[in-house]
């Protein structure tokens, strides 16, 4: 039997957060163990955040402009990777000939981590939108292909047999049995590749960029502004988890039957 959860358990988590913030404040503003040039206090971080919302200094753009630039690249590359990667994985898993045709190229690409594509893309397309969107796209395609492919391949034989004995066509076997079977893995691919895309964009902007959250952090490091660095890190974390929300909602909506 499931134990009834107390309504007040969230207090435990809140206590931890408050405790960590307190320790952080204590070692900075409180006791002055760290100066604000190395570790700024939580209060200074909030101040830097508010200021950076409107102030383009010292890196040439407001926080919103940086974020928008990063998001545009991530979402373009990611969505294109999803739209191409999932069908590609399904086709490769279901039609052996497609698998044989695509696999040699795919196997060459899949082992190269996204970030390793940055230098060559910079040579091809410069440090703007295109090069980074392509890098994100490659990473997203790979993750989505692999997950959709494994999902289809893991379809239970007995489920396919149920369909076959009812006289299902190959198309019905795919759409009514293999695809729903693969759904949890496909969702998994969506999540993994989104996490990957968000990581890759920050890394790519640290390496080569003139706009974006990663670029903002990199600039702040150059002029010793740890407050802006930490603001950047928080924004990366919060936006990253917000991006996962729609996928989790989709997962909940479709997987009413629990995991399979």
């Amino acid at each position: 039997m499931q134990k009834k959860k107390s309504k007040y358990l969230w207090i435990l988590s809140a206590v931890t957060v408050v405790f960590v913030l307190f320790i952080w404040w204590l070692v900075t503003d409180g006791l002055g163990i760290f100066t604000s040039n190395t570790l700024p206090s939580p209060i200074k971080i909030v101040q830097a955040f508010i200021k950076k919302l409107t102030d383009p200094n010292p890196d040439g753009a407001t926080l919103g402009a940086h974020l928008l630039s990063s998001l545009k690249i991530v979402l373009s590359g990611y969505l294109l990777g999803v739209v191409i990667g999932i069908p590609m994985g399904i086709v490769m898993a279901w039609y052996e000939k497609a698998d044989l045709m695509i696999r040699p190229v795919f196997d060459m690409i899949r082992t190269v981590p996204g970030i390793a594509w940055v230098p060559v893309m910079v040579v091809f397309c410069g440090i703007g939108f295109t090069s980074k969107a392509i890098v994100i796209f490659i990473g997203a395609v790979v993750a989505n292909v692999i997950n959709a492919y494994s999902g289809i391949k893991q379809t239970k034989q007995v489920h396919l047999w149920v369909g076959a004995t009812f006289g299902a066509s190959n198309w019905q076997l795919l759409t009514k049995i293999a695809l729903p079977s693969a759904f949890p893995m496909i969702i998994n691919g969506l999540k993994l590749s989104l996490g990957g895309a968000w990581t890759t964009i920050v890394a790519a902007e640290l390496l080569a960029s003139n706009r974006g959250i990663g670029y903002m952090i990199q600039q702040a490091r150059g002029i010793l502004r740890p407050d802006i660095i930490i603001v950047g890190m928080f924004v990366i974390g919060i936006v990253g988890s917000l991006l996962m929300l729609p996928i989790s909602l989709l997962e909940k909506k479709v997987m009413k039957g629990g995991k399979w």
Binding site: K156, V158, H159, W161, V162, G163, A164, T165, F166, G167, A168, S169, Q172, K176, I177, P180, S181, F183, V254, M255, K256, G257, G258, K259, W260
Partner: protein
């Protein structure tokens, strides 16, 4: 394709001629021939590992035949043409579909019109006693309920030929008795031809009109024993015990 789905199954006549199946060099089914009449309830028993499942899978063309042919109502068997249902040994309810949608699955595949499909689903929900669980999903169900979903799904298409591969093998004895009685009721009501595989001799004698005994690998038909005890059958009645012992003797290969 199955637009004019009949509300009562016709019951298929099955002819198996020289059915042979090899996996590589391993001969599993050796030149099997027999007939099953329309509406017949045939139980198939045999020693463990004698290729019973291979036999059923060949019959539905899940496996390609090495030699021989299987005719349903005089035509080569084809699940796209003939109205066949198969209840598998393992749980086979689709985890992403509710009980109701699982039962509707075969009807959807066959393109049965919505209203007729819904009527069949309602009927089956009532017969297997899952009305209250229609919106539940497989992971919320017990073993017996899962097997009932499979049974309901199989019967919902009003099959002319129903194949069952040890469907109750994993259930405890009480549930088995209950579901066996449900099966007999459904069969009497619908007139489906049933091929029921089991290693449980008592179950075979309890259910079948005929009991086909298979040999060890390579599998052949050893004999077919008629079972004329009237329903409802009593497993403790002397004639039942006598027949059960007789079938047991026929299976022994030592």
């Amino acid at each position: 394709m199955m637009g004019e789905q009949k509300t009562k199954a016709a019951g298929a006549r099955v002819e198996v001629r020289n059915l042979t199946k090899k996996f590589g060099d391993l001969l599993v089914l050796d030149d099997i021939s027999f007939n099953v009449e329309k509406g017949e309830f045939l139980c198939i028993v045999g020693p463990t590992g004698c290729g019973k499942t291979t036999f059923l899978n060949s019959l539905t063309r899940l496996y390609d035949l090495t030699a021989g042919e299987i005719l349903v109502n005089g035509e080569a068997v084809d699940p796209k043409k003939h109205n066949i249902s198969y209840i598998f040994q393992e749980y086979s309810a689709m985890p992403w579909l509710s009980v109701e949608d699982n039962i509707r699955f075969g009807l959807d595949i066959k393109g049965v019109p919505k209203q007729e499909a819904q009527e069949n689903v309602e009927e089956m929900l009532e017969i297997v006693g899952l009305e209250k669980f229609r919106k539940q999903y497989p992971h919320q169900l017990s073993a017996s309920m899962l097997q009932r979903v499979s049974i309901a799904r199989a019967f919902a298409t009003k099959p002319d030929l129903l194949l069952m591969d040890e469907p109750y093998g994993q259930l405890d004895i009480e549930l088995r008795f209950k579901l066996e009685d449900e099966l007999i009721k459904l069969w009497e009501k619908l007139g489906t031809t049933v091929l029921f595989i089991t290693h449980n001799i008592e179950e075979a004698v309890y259910l079948g009109q005929n009991i086909m005994v298979l040999t060890n690998k390579p599998t052949k038909v050893k004999t077919v024993i008629p079972d004329e005890i009237p329903h409802p059958r009593d497993v403790t009645a002397p004639e039942f015990v006598k027949l059960r012992n007789y079938v047991t003797d026929m299976i022994k290969w030592w």
